[in-house]
């Protein structure tokens, strides 16, 4: 081929359009039917949680005496009503919103703490690393419920503190994953180049290490959100979580379990919603892992 020929220019242009890791990952993710289904379901769930309250003719906290124990379909209640005559669909939409919000906020908290903690421990190394990871080990050996109860009694049963409490406990695994990745990243040339260019440690961690951690972190996040939704429900189930009249999936299931003899729909609909939500997250998580970690395929 003659240098400068049109074919060569064409070839060059093709060669320049290389596929990045993320392009590859996106293609693999989008060809995974379960993951795509999970994303669609999740998008619908978020949509329902956001605009649903305006579409349902009932408020989640309106008590209507004649509608007590109304079965699904009776009195305009599509999913029936509870022991106080409150519309289950309205409560379910409100509860879904609360659960999703808790999952999102608590995951963000655990993401920030876990990534910074792990990246600093891994990058700085030596004694700092040892002390930081020993702290993680210690916190691991304390029961989850211990922290939660202590935080509850210290700060009161405030929904924002539930977010914080759960997030503040869930960061441990994240920090371990991030530390492991950082240890291998820090040997790479680009980090050395950054150091040679005179960047400070904090700049290297934030601008060079953290962006390269994204793959495993994204996968772990999609697994943390459902874990946090379960943790919140578990607390609500024990009466330590979201306080009435607010609802979350956990409080609804808990209330439904108490009344299941009289009104099984109060247990069935919230349970189904919870299962579908968790499955969507799990499919997305599995899909992302396959997409971002080609060696596993």
């Amino acid at each position: 081929m003659i240098p400068g020929s049109p074919q060569r220019a064409e070839l060059l242009q093709k060669a320049v359009k290389g596929r990045s890791l993320w392009d590859d990952a996106r293609r693999r993710l989008l060809s995974n039917k379960a993951a795509v289904a999970g994303m669609i379901v999740l998008a619908l769930m978020v949509l329902v949680a956001v605009i649903g309250p305006f579409l349902v003719p009932f408020h989640y906290d309106t008590v209507t005496k004649p509608d007590v124990w109304a079965a699904p379909g009776v009195g305009g209640h599509l999913m029936g009503a509870d022991s106080l005559g409150r519309d289950l669909l309205a409560r379910l939409i409100a509860g879904l919103g609360v659960s999703l919000a808790i999952g999102l906020v608590a995951t963000s908290v655990s993401l920030v703490i876990g990534v910074l903690w792990g990246a600093i421990a891994g990058y700085v190394g030596g004694r700092v690393d040892e002390v930081m990871m020993r702290i993680v080990d210690t916190l691991y050996s304390l029961p989850f419920i211990f922290f939660v109860i202590l935080l509850m009694v210290t700060f009161g049963r405030n929904i924002f503190l539930i977010f914080l409490a759960i997030g503040a406990v869930e960061w441990l695994t994240m920090s371990r994953i991030v530390r492991g990745q950082t240890l291998s990243l820090k040997q790479k040339e680009f980090v050395e180049a950054a150091r040679a260019a005179g960047l400070s440690s904090s700049q290297i961690i934030l601008k060079h290490i953290v962006p390269n951690l994204l793959g495993p972190v994204v996968v772990y996040v999609t697994l943390t959100i459902p874990a946090i939704i379960i943790a919140e429900s578990f607390l609500s189930f024990l009466g330590l979580g979201v306080q009435p009249p607010m609802a979350s999936l956990g409080t609804l299931i808990s209330a439904g379990a108490q009344d299941m003899e009289i009104a099984p729909w109060l247990l069935i609909f919230p349970s189904l919603t919870m299962i579908i939500t968790l499955m969507a997250f799990n499919f997305i998580g599995d899909g992302l892992r396959d997409a971002l970690d080609p060696k596993d395929r």
């Binding site: 210290t154 024990l238 299941m260």
Partner: protein, 307 residues
């Protein structure tokens, strides 16, 4: 092996010490007191009660007293239950948690591993899709959903099993709680086993074993399984610790007198000594089970040297 054990125990002691310290001061930093009741104690009586438990001393002295007690195996008296020591309370409640947790983790390991192996051997066929579908469901349905649903079907509607209660550990009373505890574990274990098995079955030494003409069942049992369950071993340690110290939800729904329920009640009532006792038991279990997991790991994988 002995040197490894010894070194690990040396590392475990400071961790345990840290756990006790953190838990002690966190507990005390939280507001509230074990002696605040519906009935308000007069300040004089409260002072006497505080003095009786040594709680009139400065906090750091109480901490030293507590630590020296723990070293001697004395976890102190309960602050809420008169005339009972923490060890009495642990003694009365550990059996329920031990039976429930132990049986369900063993059952889950056996069933989960078998399902995982079957799925891996029939990869991308109906048996695989079916088991993995069930496993996904098992991961996604939390215990507080399965428990009431199973009670509704098998106890209320069909009347085959009792709805709740311990009843001296009668088998009929154990079936539902153990099923509820084991199901999510079966799901996770079968997924881990399948993933490990699929990876191992592709490796060169399995191809060698096949080319030697070994029967498939022997390859699976003697060659592949050993390596395939390595990830499972590291998972089982903490999972077993969680189950053995009691699953709150299951104890609550089935009204069982286990450790988990006691832990929450004691924490809410600020029964400091009982909570500390349980924290120590939990931490010990985690440390010991992780140690056992590491030893099994080394026994299964000759590349891992215990040093």
């Amino acid at each position: 092996m002995l040197r490894f054990l010894f070194r690990r125990l040396l590392v475990a002691i400071p961790t345990l010490f840290l756990v006790i310290t953190v838990a002690f001061f966190m507990m005390r930093a939280a507001p509230g007191s074990p002696f605040v009741n519906e009935r308000q104690l007069s300040p004089q009586i409260e002072a006497v009660v505080m003095a009786k438990f040594g709680m009139d001393k400065p906090l750091h002295e109480q901490y030293v007293d507590y630590l020296s007690g723990v070293v001697k195996g004395d976890f102190g008296p309960s602050l809420k239950y008169r005339d009972k020591s923490v060890l009495d309370i642990l003694n009365e409640n550990y059996k329920v948690s031990l039976i429930l947790g132990g049986v369900s983790i063993l059952l889950a390991a056996m069933i989960g591993m078998s399902l995982g192996v079957i799925a891996a051997l029939r990869q991308n066929r109906i048996a695989d899709y079916f088991t993995m579908g069930v496993a996904i469901l098992g991961v996604c349905i939390p215990t507080f959903v399965t428990a009431p649903l199973l009670v509704m079907v098998f106890a209320s509607k069909l009347g085959w099993l009792p709805t709740a209660g311990w009843n001296g550990g009668a088998l009929a009373n154990l079936i539902l709680p153990i099923t509820v505890l084991a199901l999510p574990q079966i799901a996770i274990i079968s997924r881990l086993t399948r993933a490990g098995m699929i990876e191992v079955l592709r490796s060169n030494y399995i191809r060698t074993a096949r080319s030697k003409g070994l029967p498939e069942s022997l390859i699976v049992r003697k060659h592949a399984l050993r390596a395939a369950i390595l990830p499972l071993v590291s998972y089982l340690g903490p999972a077993a610790a969680g189950l053995l110290t009691g699953s709150l939800v299951v104890e609550k729904i089935f009204n069982l007198p286990g450790l988990g329920k006691f832990f929450v009640i004691s924490a809410l009532q600020r029964d400091y000594t009982v909570v500390m006792g349980m924290v120590i038991v939990y931490a010990l279990l985690i440390l010991v089970l992780n140690l056992i997991a590491d030893m099994i790991y080394a026994a299964l994988d000759p590349r891992v040297r215990l040093s």
